[in-house]
Every structure is written in C-alpha cells, then in structure tokens.
Amino acid sequence: MTMQAVVSTSVTARATGLSTWSLPSLVSPAEAGRIVVSFLDAASTSLGRATHYNSREEQQRAELAAHDALLRLDRDLYAVLLALPGVTDRARQVGVKNLLGSARGEGAKLLDAAAERGLLARLVRELPATRLLKLFDALRVGSPEEGIRKANNARTRKLVLRTLLGSPRLELWAVKYRTKLAAALTHAWGVRTTSVVRAILGKEEAARTPKERAILAGAIDRFAAADRARVYECVGFVLGLRGRLTLPLLTAFVAAKGDLSAGAALPLEVLEGIRSVFHPGTPKEEVLRLAAPSLTTAQRMSVQKRAEEAKVDVRMDPADYDAVRLYVYAFEMGMTVEIARALLDKARIAARFFPVRYGTIGILVDASASMAGSADQKLRPMATALALRDLLQHTAQARVVHAGGAAVGADAMLVRPSGDTGLAAGLVDLLETMPEAIFVVSDGYENRAAGRFAEVVAELRWLGDKTPIYHLNPVFAAEAQGVRELCPDLVPTLPVSRPEGLGIAMLRSMLEADPARGLPALIRLALPTTTGDER
C-alpha cells in the first residue's frame, strides 16, 4: 500500500518556495506541529461566536491566541496557511488584519514581498462583500471584541483603495453599501481629501483644472480599474453626488424612487427598501417580479419556493453554489441533471486539493436516520456526507457502500437518510476489496450494535491488517462536546463541516502523527493557492 503526499509542480513563481523553507529552529517539530494544528482548528471551524459550551469571549480569546502563536512562529507560514481551502472567512478576516498590522521580517522563506501583497489582495477580494466591508470598518474604528485593532498604515490604505476602486463590482456595491463604502474611502483618504475629491467629482470633467486632475489621479486612478469614468461616477454617487448619472444601477436607484419598475436592475434588498419607503402600497411580490433577473446567486436559491408561489421565473445556475448547499437544495426541490453535473464538477475541482493520494479507496457512507440532522440544519449532515463522498471518489478508484438510507433516482447520487446504523458489515464489505484506505463518513452514532464497528477494527488490527481508516464526521455533537468517535484510539475522527475542509482535516491528522513530514505537505497544499493580483 502506498500513500504519498501530493507534490504540486505548479507552485506560483512569486512564492520563494518550499525548497528554501525549513522548520523554525527555535521550536521542536512537535511544538511547531501543535501550534499549526491549533491554528488549523481555529481557522477551519471557529466563527468567533458563542457555542453550546463556550462564551463568545472565550471562543475569541482562544481563536486569537492560535492566530498569534502561528504568526510569531512563522509569519510566512501563517500567510500561506490562510489561503488553504476550508479556512473560514472569519479567520481570513483576522489574518489579513494581523498581516497588515505586523512587519515582514528579513528571513521570509516562502513568500517575497510581491507574493505577500498578491496573497493579501486575493484573501481580501475573496471575502464576501459584507465581511470585507466589516473588515475595513474594523480597521477604521477598531473592533477589540473581534481581535481587530485600528490600522491605517500605507499598506492598509492601499489595500482598501485597490480592493474597492479596482473591483468590477463597484457599481453594485455603490447602490448596496453606500454608507459603508463612503466610510471606508474616507478612512483611506482622510476627511479632507475625501471632501476635495467629492468637490472635484461634482464638476464637469472639462471644468477640472490640471491640479484637480492630478488629485483624482493620486486618489483614484492609480487604484482603479481601467474604466476611470465609471469609477469616478461610482465614487461621486457614494459621496452623495446625484447629478449627471449614466451608469444603469445608479440611475435606476434614483429613478426607482419615482417609478418602482425603473429599479428592476437593482438588488432585491435595495429595491425592497425603496418600495417600503417610497411605494408602501405596492405588494412585496412585485419587487420579486421586478428584481428576478438581478437576484444574487444566494437569493436565487433561497427565493425558489417563494418565486414558485408567486409564479415568478427565477433561474439559478447550480454552478454558483457550494456542493453542500446544492445537496440540501436537491433534497428539497429534487435532483436535476444540471445539479448533478455541477456537483460532479465541484467534486472534481475540490479533489485537486486533497493532500494525499491512494490508488484505491473504500468509502462507507452512513445514511441512517440520524444523518438527517437537527431541525435548524435539516439534512445538512447528509448533504455534507454526500459531497465528501463525491470528492473522495475523484481522488482514487473508489468503492462506495451506503449504510442505510434510501437512494433517490437511478444513479443513486442522492441518498435520503433513513433507518438504523450498522457500519460494521459495510466496513467488512470494503475490506474485502483490499483498498489502500477507507473513509467512513458518519455522525458517529452506531446502533447495530453500538461498538461493533470498533470491535471489527480491533480484530482487524489484531489480524495484522493496517489499512488506514479515517472517520470523517460532519456533525458537531453537542452532548459529545465535539465530534463523536466511532473507534477511539484506532480510527482518527476528523471533523469536516464542508468538503473544502477535508484537505485541512487530513493534514491535521498527518501533522499530529508526524509534524516534520506533515508541515511540508501542508505548505505544498497551500502554496499553489496563494496567487493573487499585485501592483
């Protein structure tokens, strides 16, 4: 049997690379491994919120301590790991602040300055708009409870301006987040410059003096995307200018106050806001009808039922959603060829980031009733299990066994959870095919009989069979204070709440077992993902 870490050959040219990197000499490999594992746990699971067991403050203290420890250990390693698939937006938000708030050392081994700038730009660009603007706001006023202190150094200002003014979504943001955008720009430019920029933008272009043009060039042009006029108009709009508007969303925003139908291109919530203030007599369904073509991808999925009831055609492209959401959606609305195709494409892409390679694997999917999950996250555990199954199937020649459940459709891609949990027989079924590794996706509740799975594994080891078995658990069991294990000591249980996090979970497991080999494997996984725009 062979298991080898994937060695990517496409490491970005701007990263100085793994060949020059070594474990920090001040700590032992075991200690370095512990720090990285702690960071990975925080970065892949923590949302900075209270849990059943810990207050928000306790959670955040622990989380920030994990960030700080890795930042102190190796700043480059910290930056690189932030780019890993599966790292939460919240962790990236904290990470960007930490990187902006600390100086690059002399001995950077993984990223040169340009590569780090690119990485920062990418991390920021990929944050959801709301979180991005929250980060910028926190950099402006500070947010100690989120571990974010005020920052207004040149790097920060440039990053804010590049991200906002260089975004192809600036026009959309201008109508959707006017106040926050104005605050972020004012923070980056300062109140005086902002006021000057506003005054200049209020003039006809031909009336601007050379000095005024130079001010705009310094404040806007060097950070802006190619279409300067568009950026000027958006910035003016954000700063309160309403004259000479030409861009469709901006003109729609103004026109919709008089005629709601003129705002059809506006985001649903913006149009809804205008309706409630300026057209309170118009029914909400009318807003959905008008905004249908301009709904965001998330809205397209969430309004499907409402749209069906209101007989409004809202098209959604399955490719725009993550695999878990698609499976949850398919459970509710039915599997279609398009959804199935999108799921397989996503699995294929996600499999590229899987850090280990096997020739053959077995996948045991627990599809028993408990995988339906709780009322507030209905079917999410099963959806996650199916998405993990699809991903794993693209990493090796795979045999899949579903324990329990009812397959829906001829291809059995969708499996509705039902019945009891007997995992031992499925495990033996897989062992007979002599796979190089076995992955068991289960919430850890076994009842035919409880403990039978562990008995089989114990006997298997006694027989001398060392086939690696991994338990992937998509459910955080409150009463188990973490994830529930199927076979403590013999089978590692990896918490995985989404397929993108599987690579981290596997590497975390490797790191615990062998930090000296696990860390380079982790960097190999992360480095190709660090590429970003730089200027």
């Binding site: 009733a369 009812a406 009891d420 009842n447 009989a449 039978r452 027989l463 009463e479």
Partner: protein
C-alpha cells in the same frame, strides 16, 4: 374484554432488526399506518394544582398517552397524567386527577403546545394505579425515592432534578436509537429483559412519542441498570474471530448478529404469551375506540382497542 396476550397486542406487526446501545436494545415493530388517532400534539396548560387542561385543535381524535408529562421552562409547576386521554376533534378537557412533578415550584403552565415527556418507567405503574385519585401530591414520594436511586440527594418530588442531572445521557438515547421506515412500535429491552412494549396507530404518531419514550421513560431505566452492572446484557454478543482473515471476520460478525438475534428473541418469547388482565370497564371510550388499563405481574399499561383490534398500547415492566 377480560384479557389480552402480548401476541394479540402485537398482531399485524413484524419485527425489524434490533438496535442496541449499552444496556438498552430496541426491536422496531413495523406495520401499516391507520388514521384512527392523530399524534398527541395538543395544547396543554394547568388551571390549578393537579388540574391539567388539554385541547385538541385538530380535526381527528387524539390520544394523549398514559404517563404524559410536561416539563416547562416557565416558572410553573410541571405536571403529568397517570392514564391516557382520548380527545375528540376540537375537544377541550380538564383532568383534575393530574399530578405535580415539581414539588416546590409554584405557578401555572400557560396554555401552549408544550414538549411531551413520558414519566420514567419506574414511576409509570404508580402513576397509572393512582390515575383516578385526586391528589396532586401523589407522586412526590415516588419521585424522591426514584431520584435517590440515582444518587440525587436533593429533597422533594422534583423530576427535573433527574432530567437535569442526566440530560446528556438522555439526549444521547434520542440520537442513538433511530426510527426506521414503517415503524409503528417497539419492544424495549433493558439489561437483556423486556422493559416495555409500545404500539402506535401510525408512524407519524410513533415519531411523536418515540423521543419522549426513549429519552426519559426507558432511558432512565437504562441508566439505572448501567449504574448497577457494567457487564453487557445477554442480548449483546462479543465478536469472536475463529479464522484469521477478512472472511473469518465476516463470519464472526454474522455469528455475533445471529447470537444477538437469538438472545433477543428468547427474551421476547418469555413475554409473548403473557396474558394481561384488562380492567372490567374501559377508562374512556370515543366512538368505537376504548382506552383500557391492562396489567400482569410483569407488565402494566393501557391499550386502545377498536373491537378486538389493538390500535395503541403502552406497557411498562412493573417496577
């Protein structure tokens, strides 16, 4: 009706594969749905100590199962009823023989669809036998003795002392024992012996009562037995591999499952011909439905019959 055997009570149902965790095993009983009785989702409140107000706002008759209780988060005294209650569609009913299960708490339960609890198996017989007694204090002594058995030294008839102390284990039971398709009942074994027989009219009814049954009613019994004995029950066979190979492992798995099936079947056989004597008069009737109390030296509880056909049964081992 003078007597009923367990076989008769279970007529028309077939067993599914047993589920087993720790000291508890559950044999799901599978059957067809029939819509005589809607699941017990009713409005509940108290109008005085010992008086429970029930309202069925649905369009089908409802059975509130025997031993039903309501432990609420409000500052109000938790209550339970000893026997079941049949409610017509739209019917409101005051039951003034209910019992308080939270001794020193004052206050009345505001009317709402509160979460159902079924009294611990060890308290069911006492609650049932005093179902006609008008004394809201009647279970306090029993609850205090019950709590003491679990090492709970706090004074008073407070069932919530137990549910709070063992909340984690009780929650686990709900997650561990899964409802299977077409399930309308179960035979519950604790420590290898039959502790309860449950039958519901439909799988929807079953889903509504299974959580309360497994969590507190039978879960309490499993905790008690686990505290007394660490040895696995006779219904749990160890895996014994004779041939050192994967095929040998599979054979051992099959043997263990067969041994467990046989041990479970043997336990069930000991009660299948048990005759339960029925009370001469039904506790309640609703059209052709009759709610009757039945008892034997080993089991007691209530059944709902329609002619000779059993629609519902909830029988607990006598404590």
């Amino acid at each position: 009706m003078m007597s009923l055997t367990v076989d008769e009570i279970l007529r028309g149902l077939g067993p599914g594969p047993a589920q087993s965790v720790g000291q508890m095993s559950v044999i799901p009983l599978l059957g067809e749905d029939e819509d005589t009785l809607a699941p017990p989702v009713v409005e509940v409140g108290t109008t005085g100590y010992g008086t429970v107000h029930l309202r069925n706002d649905g369009d089908r008759p409802v059975l509130v199962p025997p031993g039903a209780g309501w432990v609420v988060a409000q500052k109000a005294q938790d209550h339970a009823i000893g026997g079941g209650a049949l409610l017509r569609p739209g019917e409101s009913r005051q039951i003034d023989t209910a019992m308080c299960i939270q001794q020193s708490q004052g206050g009345l339960i505001a009317r709402a669809k509160h979460e159902l609890l079924i009294l611990p198996a060890a308290l069911r017989a006492k609650a049932l036998s005093t179902r006609h007694v008008r004394d809201f204090r009647k279970l306090w002594e029993g609850i205090q003795a019950f709590n003491k058995r679990f090492g709970i030294e706090q004074h008073g008839g407070h069932l919530e002392f137990f549910t709070r102390t063992f909340a984690k284990q009780l929650d686990e039971f709900v997650a561990e024992f899964e409802v299977v398709p077409r399930q309308v009942g179960a035979i519950v074994l604790v420590g290898g012996e039959v502790a309860g027989i449950e039958r519901a009219p439909s799988s929807a009814f079953w889903r509504a009562v299974w959580g309360p049954l497994i969590r507190v009613c039978y879960g309490s019994l499993a905790i008690q037995v686990a505290r007394e004995s660490k040895a696995p029950p006779v219904t749990r066979a160890p895996l014994q591999v004779e041939t050192r190979s994967i095929a040998g492992l599979r054979a051992a798995l099959v043997r263990a499952e067969e041994a467990e099936r046989a041990a479970t079947a043997a336990s069930v056989r000991t009660i299948s011909v048990t005759a339960l004597t029925a009370a001469e008069e039904a506790d309640e009737t609703l059209g052709a439905l009759a709610l009757t109390t039945v008892a034997s030296p080993r089991l007691s509880g209530q059944v709902v019959t329609e002619g000779r056909t059993v629609r519902f049964a909830s029988l607990c081992a006598a404590a």
